[in-house]
Amino acid sequence: MTDRSAAARFEITDEQRQIAALAREFAQKEIAPHIAAWDREHYFPRSLYTKMDAIGLMGVLVDERYGGVGAGYGAYALAVEELARVDAGSAVTLSVHAMIGAAIAKLGNELQRQEWLPRLSGGDTIAGFALTESDAGSDAGGIRSTATRRGDGFVLRGRKQWCTNGTHAGVVMAMFRTGGVGPKGVSAFLVDPKTPGVSVERETEKLGIRTSNTCDLAFDDVYVGPEALLGGEGEGFGGAMTALQGGRIGIAAQAVGILAACLDASVKFAQERMAFGKPIGAYEGVSFKIARMATDLEAARLLVYRAAALADAGTPSPTLASQAKFFASTAARTHASEALQIHGGYGFTTEFPVERYYRDAKITEIYEGTSEIQQIIIARSFLGRL
C-alpha cells in the first residue's frame, strides 16, 4: 500500500526512492548499451518488458490483490522519469501500459479486474489504448468506429490510428460508438487483439520515440462478448478521459526524464568542450541556458510529483495533471533544442544522444492531449465553459 499520509505531505518516500533507483539501474544496464541501435532501427525491445514485468515494474500501479504492488502514482512517475532519462520510448510503453491497468481497476467490474490485472502485472501481457481515429484526435468525441449489439455481445467495426503498444498488446482499451453522436454515444471495450477480425494494418514510422510501438488497428466485424464492455454503455468517453488523467502524469514524467537527460548531457559537454581557451560553460551564453534548463526541470518535477502525490492521497487533480503535462512537455521541447545548441555541430550528429532527445521531446506536446487541449482543460477549470 502507498503511504497516504506521506503522499499528502508531499514527500518522496524511501520506497519510491528505491523504486526510482531500481528503474535507473535497470535502464542503465538493460537499455543504455543498446539504445542508439534500437532507435536507429525502430526496434521494439519486446523481451525488455518481460524482464520489467519480472521485477514488478509493469505492475507498479496494480493493487496487491491482483498481483501488483500498489506502489502508486509517485512511484509510477519516478519509474517513467528514470526510464525516459535513458529512453523515452520504453518510458511511454510502461506509461500507457500502467495507465490501462489503472483504468481497469477503476472502471472495471470484479470479473474484469480478475481477468486482466494479474496478466498486466506478472503475466507478461502488455496493454494498449485505442481512441484516436484518422478523423478524430483532439476531437475524440467524434470517433466513428461502431459497436453494435449482437445477442449478448457486440460487433466492433472501424479503424483505430496510432495505438501505442498495439502490435504487442495482449489487451487494448478501445473506444467505439454504441449510441448517437458526440461523447455520450461512446463506450469502452477491452479487446484481445488476437480476437478474429482484429489486425495490425500498419506500423507508424516516427520522428522520435522509435523504440515505442505505434500502429493502426483494423476491426473488421469483431465479435466480443458482454464481458468486454468496460464501464456502462455510453460511459466510454468519460472512461477514456479518466484513464488519460492518470496517463498525463506519466507523459509529464516522460518529459521530465528527457529534460533531465538534456541537462546531464549539457552539463558534461559544457564542462569539457573548449572554445577560445575556456570550457564553453564559462560563457554566460551557455551557462544561462543551463541555469534555465535546471530551473525548469525542477519546476516540472515538482508539478509532476505534486500531481502524483494528490492522486496517491486519493484526491487526484485533473487540472494539475494537465498543468504538469503542459509545463513539462513545453520545457522538454524547448530545452532539448537548447541542449542541442550547446552541443553545436556535435549535437546535430548521431554520435551524441541529444539529437535523439530533441526528436523524442516533441511527442510529449502531442499525445494524450496536445498542449492546446491541456490549456483548454486548465483554462476551463478557472473560467468554466463560457
Binding site: D14, E15, Q18, I19, A21, L22, E25, I55
Partner: protein, 262 residues
C-alpha cells in the same frame, strides 16, 4: 543453515572519488552511497544458496557503517536477504584493516553463522585484506575467489577461480568464502521486495555491545596512512602517421616489441 553476507556501503562507483588531505580519508559526504558492487555478487551467491538448500535457511546481511547510511542497506533486503545487522559507532571512524576486521569479527561472533560469504574487494578502500583477517580472527577456514558453492552433509564444496582454470576444494563448516564475479550477476530487487523490505529488521550493534572499545578507530589501529599522492600524469602519446595501413601496423608492432609488450 545460517548464511551471513558482509556488505560494505561505499560512495557510488560512477561518481568521482576524493580523498580529504586533512583526515586522509575518503570523502563520503555529498555523494550517493551504494552497496559495494562486489558484495552484491556475494549476496547473490547467498540468495542462490538459500534457494537451493531451502528449509529454514536464512540470509543475514552484516554491515559496519555509520547509522546515517542505514537506508542504503535496504536494497540488500529488497533483493531478498531476511534481515540485517549493522555495527555503527562513531568511535569506529578511522579504523584500519586490522581494527576493522577485529571489530567485525566480534560482531560476527555474536551474530553467528554457518557460512560467511564475503565480496573479495571494496570499491573504496580496495585493500582486499579484510576477508583474510576476518577468517583469522574468527578462526575459520577461508576459501577465496569462489565461483560456485555447494553444501551437502555439513561439507562445503567450492570451485575456486584461478588464472588458468579452476580448482575444486572442499572444507567443513563454519567457513568463510569470498566470491569471484563469475559466481553470477546480482539480481534486481523486485518492487515487491522493495515494498516488503521496510518490514524486515535492521538490528543495531554498538562498540560497547561487542566489547571492543580499545581496539577501534585510529587509536586502535596498527597502521597509519602517512601521505598519499595522485598517480603521475600520463605522458604524451606517440602518433604514427604511416603511408598505408601495413606500414602503420608494422610501426606499432615495432613499438610494442621495443617495450617488450609482445
Amino acid at each position: 543453515m545460517k548464511i551471513v553476507v558482509t556488505v560494505k556501503l561505499v560512495p557510488d562507483p560512477n561518481g568521482e572519488k576524493k580523498l580529504d588531505p586533512a583526515t586522509k580519508r575518503l570523502v563520503r559526504t555529498g555523494v550517493e552511497t551504494v552497496i559495494n558492487p562486489y558484495d552484491e555478487y556475494a549476496l547473490e551467491a547467498a540468495l542462490q544458496l538459500k534457494e537451493r538448500i531451502g528449509g529454514d535457511s536464512t540470509v543475514t546481511v552484516f554491515c559496519m557503517s555509520p547509522e546515517s547510511l542505514k537506508e542504503s542497506l535496504r536494497k540488500a533486503l529488497a533483493m531478498g536477504a531476511d534481515g540485517a545487522v549493522m555495527l555503527s559507532d562513531s568511535s569506529l571512524e578511522g579504523s584500519d584493516v586490522w581494527a576493522s576486521a577485529h571489530a567485525m569479527s566480534l560482531a560476527l561472533k555474536r551474530i553467528g553463522f554457518d557460512i560467511l560469504i564475503v565480496g573479495g574487494l571494496t570499491d573504496d578502500g580496495s585493500t582486499g585484506a579484510v576477508p583474510g583477517a576476518l577468517a583469522e580472527f574468527l578462526g575459520v577456514p577461508c576459501l577465496t575467489n569462489v565461483r560456485k558453492i555447494e553444501i551437502a552433509d555439513g561439507k562445503v564444496r567450492v570451485e575456486r577461480e584461478t588464472d588458468g582454470g579452476y580448482q575444486e576444494v572442499t572444507g567443513s563448516l563454519p567457513m568463510l568464502v569470498t566470491t569471484a564475479l563469475t559466481i553470477g550477476e546480482p539480481r534486481y530487487p523486485s518492487l515487491k521486495g522493495i515494498m516488503g523490505a521496510k518490514k524486515k529488521p535492521i538490528d543495531m550493534l554498538s562498540v560497547a555491545d561487542i566489547g571492543a572499545a580499545d581496539t577501534v578507530g585510529s587509536a586502535g589501529s596498527k597502521t597509519e596512512l602517512l601521505s598519499f599522492a595522485p598517480p603521475p600524469a600520463r605522458g604524451a602519446g606517440q602518433i604514427v602517421t604511416p603511408e598505408d595501413p601495413a606500414a602503420g601496423a608494422a610501426a606499432i608492432l615495432a613499438f610494442l616489441k621495443d617495450k617488450k609488450l609482445v
